[in-house]
Subunit: 197 residues, 2 copies
Amino acid sequence: MERMPKKQRHQQLARLIEENPFLTDRELTRLLKVSIQTIRLDRLELAIPELRERLKLMAERSYDPVRSLPLHEVIGDILDLQLDKSGISMFEIRDEHVFSRSGIARGHHVFAQANSLAVAVINDEIALTASADIRFIRPARLGEKCIAKAYVRSSGVQKGKAKVEVFTYVGDEMVFQGNFVIYRSAGAADVEGAGEA
Amino acid sequence: MERMPKKQRHQQLARLIEENPFLTDRELTRLLKVSIQTIRLDRLELAIPELRERLKLMAERSYDPVRSLPLHEVIGDILDLQLDKSGISMFEIRDEHVFSRSGIARGHHVFAQANSLAVAVINDEIALTASADIRFIRPARLGEKCIAKAYVRSSGVQKGKAKVEVFTYVGDEMVFQGNFVIYRSAGAADVEGAGEA
DNA sequence: GTCGGATTGGCACCAGGTATCAGTATGAAC
DNA sequence: GTTCATACTGATACCTGGTGCCAATCCGAC
């Protein structure tokens, strides 16, 4: 019965739980061929919480009020929002957003940030993108933080169409620019902060 | 001791748990002023799972790879692809793509399908969206299958810029139309400062 | 040999339940 | 009044997936 060094087992344990946080200690016992006590000592040393705590943390993250508000479907984190005026959001380019070959962000992610923000900034029950004219000025790359700034150029409360301009920067370099036309459900412009996102 | 009608309590219970799924039966006892047994009978009748199951479900939802990597590689399934000529993809609008209030797809998902296809149809190592001019013609709704058709109007192998037109249909209704300009690596050694996808 | 860390076993205990049975309260039907 | 159904409460046994603690064992280094 050859035993794996403790360090290596710790690495494996951490990897297994990261891959599948739903594993119980008993299942880990089976996978790592050590007793359940050892698994628990290991979790203790590695400060990995028990299954239920892990699930609770995941549930809390996904239930995060900031995320679950109408803003929860917004791509990027809203940093500032002045309804019918302007808004700012931040979006970090991660592995899953880039072409693996080049490390360059896929355009639709950068677009999604801008589009989300353009819709979020409109203070209305229902706001839908009608059309957009967009330019990708330079590639955004893995790890870069994209700051999108949206300005409502014409709120069009009567006409039912708003014009929103969005500029996205990495540092002081502009990476994206877009002109959006947003349909808004004419009417409840400033009743409740009802902009959907 | 006036008692609340059972029906009303059921409504309250459902509302409380929806508002805060982290409530234990004991806490509900306090809020609804009935015994813990009654709470449990009520949950049974309303088919509301216990706290741990609720948290597990929430964790699973947020862990769902489809959800956690919503815009990963190509969006939609490629049905047909003739490089440098045309392509077709299908994308089904699911819960996670729509505004929860209206059931209407968020624009950037529809855009993502078209953008992915426009990039995929270009027969080159690296292809990045440079700019796009897009129109959302009618909303796409939950459950609808969007068929995007891309046509390469000018492959621009020498110039390093291709023009791709994409039309997206639900049934025979057009929901989206876009003109994309795609940078391609052949002939365009300088990808930097070019554009992205 | 002995020492010490690593590992294991065993037991008590906990939260947050399920499942089941028995007892009480209340109001309507006869 | 009695009877009956429904609603509610109490109590107990049991379950999972743990924590906390103590003691025993293994195993290599010295």
